[in-house]
């Protein structure tokens, strides 16, 4: 995935300014930056939730900038949300099945088809097993602990088998024990999948990512390996501070 000169302006406010960024196949990248830097806006631009003011988004060489959000999913972009965004009155299995059916291209079928249903169910089982959610399959999402809801959020994104996965603070608000479970799952993502992670915990970022981009006031201040970012004087001064925690 490639971003070329991407900008987003809300009225007089420039939220994203001329961002260019390359995410190669199988890359593990992280996007860090202080609150209000524009990280989630950037994710929303890439996923199609927001339209950019200028610039281009390309997936596999194809310009997807004009595509609607749903079409971009078909083009290979999957995402999770910073604030859990689930089908709260449906079960975990039903949540994932919606994504599986959509990805398999059978969600618009007007007639019940037991064989197709069985295939969808089998794929739901696979996805749930990856995240160790099998036991929660028949539970309604709104009664689940928040940490498990975050896992369901991830399960829906994985069910879409995206080429590019955008993870917007997947562990935000999750108890410490569950954070480890979530990142263990993220570390096992298919090697071919490019992952862009937004995360505030700098230790997790440096452990997970092979490349890190620092976004400040809508601009990429610096991009490099975790070691380079750690040593970057401006990043230390402006963002990491002495504590080493964002």
């Amino acid at each position: 995935m490639e971003l070329r000169g991407l900008s987003k302006r809300f009225g007089a406010l420039d939220v994203i300014r001329d961002v260019s960024f390359l995410l190669e196949e199988g890359a593990r990248c992280a996007l860090i930056g202080p609150n209000g830097a524009g990280k989630t806006t950037l994710i929303n631009l890439i996923s199609g939730r927001l339209a950019p003011t200028s610039g281009e988004i390309r997936i596999g060489g194809r310009n997807v900038t004009a595509m609607a959000e749903a079409a971009r999913v078909k083009a290979g972009i999957g995402r999770t949300f910073q604030i859990t965004n689930l089908f709260r009155r449906l079960t975990v299995g039903e949540n994932v099945a919606l994504a599986v059916a959509e990805h398999a291209g059978v969600a618009g079928r007007l007639r019940p088809a037991p064989r197709m249903r069985a295939r969808v169910d089998a794929r739901v089982s696979e996805v749930l097993a990856t995240l160790r959610l099998e036991d929660e399959r028949n539970r309604r999402v709104d009664v689940l602990p928040y940490g498990v809801q975050r896992m369901v959020e991830l399960a829906i994104a994985l069910a879409l088998e995206p080429a590019v996965l955008l993870l917007d603070e997947p562990a935000a608000g999750v108890p410490a024990d569950d954070v480890a479970v979530i990142f263990a799952a993220i570390e096992k993502l298919p090697a071919s999948m490019a992952v862009l992670l937004i995360e505030h915990d700098i230790d997790i970022v440096f452990r997970f990512a092979s490349r890190v981009a620092v976004l400040v006031a809508g601009r990429i201040l610096v991009e490099g390996t975790p070691a380079e970012i750690r040593e970057h004087a401006q990043v230390r001064a402006l963002y990491l501070g002495e504590s080493g925690h964002a």
């Binding site: 995402r79 449906l90 919606l98 007007l110 019940p112 249903r117």
Partner: protein, 315 residues
């Protein structure tokens, strides 16, 4: 699933048994069956897509007028008339859906109200075609499938309408049990998230809207054929509201809501209009309040919860 199939069978069995149990009320039964079909179609839009509309009578009325005009000017064969009524309403569904489905909530309610008013006024102005305020008169239907002539006692009317409703229910059941039906529920529950998993939300809602319009049109066509008359108020906001009330009463998005709401509403309306003609709307209003406060999911949800407490089954 087995329990659901059993209940589906019970619904169809009830349609077959009703005229045996109450042979003197066949006309009322036919009216119930027709409005139940209309409420069932509205359930696709309100209950499954989560779109509240007050314009559903437009499809019912257009179906009624199309079937009535077809009977007067082309062919009095009822089955062909049903297809014409359904197709006319589906066409209106395509046209109005392209505009209405761009909005949600209050805007959608207002636009759907405007649609039914525009369609009603158009029917009123086209008096040469529709009979205007006097209604479409002079319809005389041929026997159903060339075999069953409409009789004075309303037996053929009831059986004909009940068979169409049963077929309508099979279509409805097939839709809501399909992946398409499940994706509609997903849209109802979280439209934004459906877009984020790649669902072409607008296209899917349009398909559901047109299918619901066609079903309502078939219900309207039935009404025109069994009454051999189409009144202008088939296209009214009042009728739209009544259908919505029936659905809320029975339970929207609950498979059998239309089958409970329609008979309860029509029987109450019939009884109260006779016993207390001045205040019958007040009683209907009170019933609706009671439902909203004590059984917010409608009668189906209430009975379902009761059954769950007794035997662990869910309606």
């Amino acid at each position: 699933m087995t329990a659901t199939r059993l209940l589906d069978g019970l619904v169809i069995a009830a349609l077959a048994i009703a005229p045996v149990l109450a042979p003197a009320y066949l006309d009322l039964g036919t009216r119930i069956v027709i409005v139940a079909l209309c409420a069932l179609s509205l359930d696709l839009v309100v209950g499954y897509c989560g779109l509240v509309t007050l314009g559903h009578a437009a499809f019912f009325g257009v179906g009624a007028y199309a079937a009535g005009i077809f009977a007067l000017r082309a062919s009095a064969e009822p089955l062909a008339g049903l297809l014409v009524g359904g197709a006319a309403a589906a066409l209106l569904g395509v046209l109005s859906g392209a505009v209405l489905l761009r909005s949600r909530r209050l805007t959608l309610i207002m636009l759907s109200l405007a649609t039914v008013l525009v369609v009603q006024e158009t029917a009123n102005k086209l008096g040469w075609l529709t009979g205007g305020a006097d209604g479409l008169q002079g319809i005389s239907m041929a026997p159903v499938a060339g075999l069953f002539a409409f009789d004075l006692f309303g037996r053929v009317s009831y059986v004909y309408a009940a068979v169409v409703l049963a077929l309508g229910f099979l279509v409805f059941r097939s839709l809501v049990d399909s992946n398409f039906g499940r994706s509609l529920v997903g849209i109802r529950e979280n439209e934004a998230r459906m877009r984020a998993i790649g669902t072409p939300v607008d296209a899917r809602l349009r398909v559901a809207f047109v299918i619901a319009a066609a079903m309502a049109g078939v219900a309207g066509a039935l009404q025109a054929q069994v009454a051999e008359f189409v009144a202008l108020n088939a296209l009214s906001v009042d009728f739209s509201s009544e259908i919505l009330i029936m659905l809320i009463l029975g339970g929207a998005g609950r498979r059998y809501g239309a089958f409970l709401g329609a008979p309860v509403y029509v029987v109450m309306q019939d009884y109260l209009a006779r016993e207390d003609p001045a205040n019958w709307y007040l009683w209907i209003g009170l019933l609706l309040l009671a439902i909203v406060f004590f059984a917010p999911g409608g009668l189906t949800a209430w009975i379902g919860a009761l059954a769950q407490r007794v035997g662990g089954k869910r309606l």
